[in-house]
Symmetry: C2
Subunit: 134 residues, 2 copies
């Protein structure tokens, strides 16, 4: 779990920003579970609901060309998910962010601060079992 | 949708093998939807349930060291998911399959035919809205 800025936190989850050229959030489950299938079903559903909220806000706020979602955890074997807004003119498109850089892009995206506030507000409307930490 | 072997198919989904060094399945939704959030909630849940079944079988059958799950769709902007069984001695570990190759691996994995039969059997026990095509 890197020292990146925290967007939102609850008893079970922490959502952080991976500071990059594109809007890139990482949702960590706070447990030591390595794999999704080791989590209780309700927790898995909460993860997917949170990812869905982030995706919707990325599409709405940034008009992203594509959403990329990934769970690897090879370096850090704990359940966490990457959610990325992609643009056809970003530095890696159409490669994944882990692929080969395609160009030196200069995106002119709207303010990320507003986006993060909107993501947090969206997640706080969800009925999650664990409460938000303020 | 590549011409890879079909593992299982229903009205809404097709599950294919991406022939690679590691066990790598791709679950395609047959619609033209680009993003998960455009699908009905029930369909999203079915996708996650199918991915969960595949993950469990990868862990059980292959004793995979880590499961990797990803949805990009930058080249093919239609909802599809990659589910990969990773091993600490595979050619890319701990990098994602889209990252930098780490070594020339020689994995000695159990028969994939048996694995695919087991995955198919597992999925057929799920209560999915769309029926399997035989």
């Amino acid at each position: 779990m890197s020292e990146s800025p925290v967007v939102w936190e609850s008893r079970d989850f922490v959502l952080k920003v991976n500071e990059a050229e594109i809007p890139w959030l990482i949702l960590y489950h706070k447990s030591q579970y390595r794999e999704m299938s080791q989590l209780p079903e309700g927790t898995r559903l909460e993860i997917y609901t949170i990812i869905d909220s982030i995706e919707r806000e990325m599409l709405e706020y940034y008009k992203a060309d594509k959403i990329n979602i990934a769970s690897f955890g090879n370096y850090l074997p704990r359940v966490h998910w990457h959610i990325m807004a992609r643009f056809v003119n970003d530095s890696y498109f159409p490669e994944p962010l882990w692929g080969k850089r395609q160009r030196e892009a200069s995106l002119n995206l709207p303010d990320i601060g507003v986006f993060l506030e909107r993501v947090k507000a969206r997640i706080e409307t969800l009925s999650l079992q664990s409460e938000s930490l303020s």
